[in-house]
């Protein structure tokens, strides 16, 4: 009995000592921090979460380093993941929000859209009115024009900016310039010329068109809507105006996509899935198809793939509907935002303004990520320079924007209806009329739910 008591006592003492030791550690740590604070002023730990995309993780480490060097009061804690949504979503649901997040809209997990729909983003309009961190110039004066007044940055169309545009890339139809030159084919400027070229190519066993997956039609359809009816028409479509998808401008777009069906490489639909989409991109490299909608990242994405002789990437804006008509190249960009529930919003805003500094733009540029700031095109070299000067050299008009945000509507998804159905149009399962009717029906349901 006595022995038992002694054992108990011993265990108890151990426990108490253990606990005391633990709490002691913590106190010490706190003390250290406090001492540090006195030296450096108020130290903030800024939690930055960024998607690790084709540009790589390294540039973010460099950005964090250079920002910590520029702003001694801030310590950056980076979360870099390829599956960022899966990592930060559970934390956010548990109330642990990052302070600044780089995650674009239009991703399958739709985390950014969810926050927009739930009013979970911080208004960052003042970032653009204020100075770039460490520079004596306002952010908005430094940025390329047009980037901060689209539905992709101001989702509620109320003049307030919630998402900061980052890393832009013109998109268009990508092709092998070497092949067209070799065959002596002119680059088509209108859809009529496209069809003509399609016939010529078909005679040689080459298809006119392919697409990686239907998701790539977001910029394709966007550019076509712009070309069909101009900016106002595009905005009406994006804000679900009644009957807009049944207008003659929209019909023209639907018809054209359906007509492309006869010119699309026959294996495209079978490979248009996340597992096999690079097979469709290979069709361009192997001279089996002429054009595909894509973004400038495709050159890097397919860098290791074998290709035909004399292969040379080139990009053209979308063809015009008639001779001399407007041609658009949709500008895709990623976005950075601050959750409304973040703890260090002011520090996060400063950090975002730093993204537009010369220093940051240079670090991003080295990794191939292009910030929408003045003079950036002059710093580009080689292939990227031709891609990014599409607006100057080819006379293409820039197109930007996305669908207006709505409250979540169960069972209705505009992306699936407008872009996903294209697989069915291409395989001939549905006609453009059914597709059009479905889109208008989805638009009707979303109109009432607009924020």
């Amino acid at each position: 009995m006595k022995l038992k008591k002694i054992v108990w006592m011993f265990a108890l003492v151990l426990l108490v000592v253990g606990l005391a030791a633990c709490s002691g550690d913590k106190e010490e740590g706190d003390n250290n921090d406090a001492a540090g604070d006195k030296d450096k002023g108020k130290q903030t730990t800024l939690k930055v979460a960024a998607l690790e995309s084709a540009y790589g993780a390294d540039m973010w480490n460099k950005i964090a380093e250079s920002y910590e060097a520029a702003n001694e009061n801030v310590k950056i804690e980076l979360t870099l993941k390829k599956n960022l949504e899966e990592v930060i979503r559970p934390n956010m649901q548990a109330g642990e929000y990052p302070d600044a997040v780089l995650l674009a809209t239009g991703r399958p997990e739709a985390l950014t859209e969810t926050l927009i729909k739930e009013n979970g983003l911080e208004d960052i309009s003042d970032v653009f009115e204020g100075k770039v961190y460490g520079e004596d110039i306002n952010v908005k004066d430094k940025m390329l024009s047009g980037f901060t007044n689209t539905l992709a940055t101001n989702p509620y169309a109320d003049g307030k900016t919630y998402l900061a545009p980052m890393f832009y890339s013109p998109t268009g139809l990508f092709y092998n310039a070497g092949l067209l030159e070799e065959k002596g084919w002119e680059v088509p400027k209108t859809w009529d010329e496209m069809w003509e070229l399609g016939e010529k190519a078909q005679a040689e066993g080459i298809s006119l068109f392919t697409y990686p997956t239907t998701g790539y039609f977001d910029t394709f359809i966007g550019s076509m809507l712009y070309a069909a009816g101009g900016t106002d028409f595009f905005n009406s479509a994006m804000t679900y105006e009644d009957g807009i998808w049944e207008s003659k401008e929209a019909t023209k777009v639907f018809e054209t996509v359906e007509k492309l069906k006869d010119y699309t490489e026959k294996n495209t639909v079978a490979n248009a899935n996340p597992n096999d989409f690079t097979k469709n991109q290979r069709l361009i490299l192997d001279n089996k198809a002429l054009f595909m909608p894509n973004g400038t990242w495709v050159a890097g994405e397919m860098a290791e793939a074998p290709r035909a002789e004399n292969f040379e990437w080139a990009m053209m804006p979308m063809p015009a509907f008639e001779e001399g008509g407007d041609r658009y190249a949709f500008t895709f960009f990623e976005q950075m935002w601050i959750p409304a529930a973040a703890k260090n919003k002011d520090a996060a805003k400063e950090f975002i303004s730093y993204m537009y500094s010369d220093e940051a733009a240079k670090i991003f540029l080295e990794a191939g990520a292009i910030q929408p700031v003045n003079g950036i095109i002059d710093q580009l070299e080689g292939q990227n320079k031709t891609f990014y000067s599409v607006y100057e050299s080819e006379g293409a008009l820039p197109a930007m924007g996305t669908f207006a945000s709505t409250k979540p509507v169960p069972g209705v998804n505009m992306g699936d209806t407008l872009y996903g159905s294209i697989d069915s149009v291409m395989s001939g399962k549905i006609s453009y009329k059914e597709w059009q009717a479905n889109v208008e029906a989805a638009s009707d349901k979303l109109r009432d739910a607009m924020n």
Binding site: E85, R89, M92, Q93, P108, E109, A110, L111, E113, T114, L115, K117, E118, N119, G120, T213, T214, K266, N267, T268, V269, A270, N271, A272, N273, P274, N275, D276, K279, P408, V409, P410, G411, V412, N413, D416, G420, S421, I422, D423, S424, S427, K429
Partner: protein
Amino acid sequence: MSKSKSRNIFILVSVAPAIILFLLFMVIPTIEVFRMSLYQWGGFSNTQQFVGLDNFRTLWNDMNFIRSFQNSILLIVVVALITVVFAVFFAAILTKENVRGANFFRVIFYIPNILSVVVIAGIFSAIYDPSNGLLNSVFGMLSLENLQQMWLGNQEIVIYSIAGALIWQAIGYYMVMYMSSMASIPASYYEAASLEGASKLKQFTSITLPLIWNNIRTTLTFFIISTINLSFLLVKAMTNGGPDGSTEVFLSYMYAQAYGNSTYGYGMAIGVVVFTFSFVLAAIVTRITKRDVLEY
């Protein structure tokens, strides 16, 4: 303290961890799914709006959901039927006949089961490749060009392509299960039957099948659960529900709605339907396959 009382306390303390864990990680989340299905909620904000049975009403008219439900049922039926037939057939051959290298075949058949679904998706996307995939190449070699298909592109057959991959990975697992129960049937039954002049087929239908019936019944429930789960994983990795939703199964549709469409509550309503459906289906299957258990 009386002896029985202290014994009860001991039992209580011993089972408490298991019960607490079960409640915390199984019962409460399930209740939570049922509760959330009555709300409209995007997943993050504090505004959870109670909408009663609205989500279920929308579900009833959502053709995309109904299609995904049909796809799931089709997969469960096709995969279970074909797998049972093949697995029982192979198991009977490998246990009853003196096949050379029976153990080797047992291993070969079992291998697909230990592969990750992502690997299976990779293998089958190579098999189904329209231009130089295994399947179309073999048909081309045999001059059967009219059998060549866009296995993942033709919306009429793509769901069967998914079923094919699921069957391929399931056969080995169920075969091993059936083999174990076949092996325990006493050999004397077969000897007696063959002395009486019963054919191999007769022996199979009158001895083997009745004696492994209970085992088959159990595996039918497994089929329901595993097809629902694996079809989601395979579809996610292989087709992402495409082309245009023709391989969407109800779990992938639930995921797409709960996250991709920011309608978490609606996704949970789908979850409730899936939960109820699989429960009821398993109960029905168990019920209608009930036979007297034969002893030997």
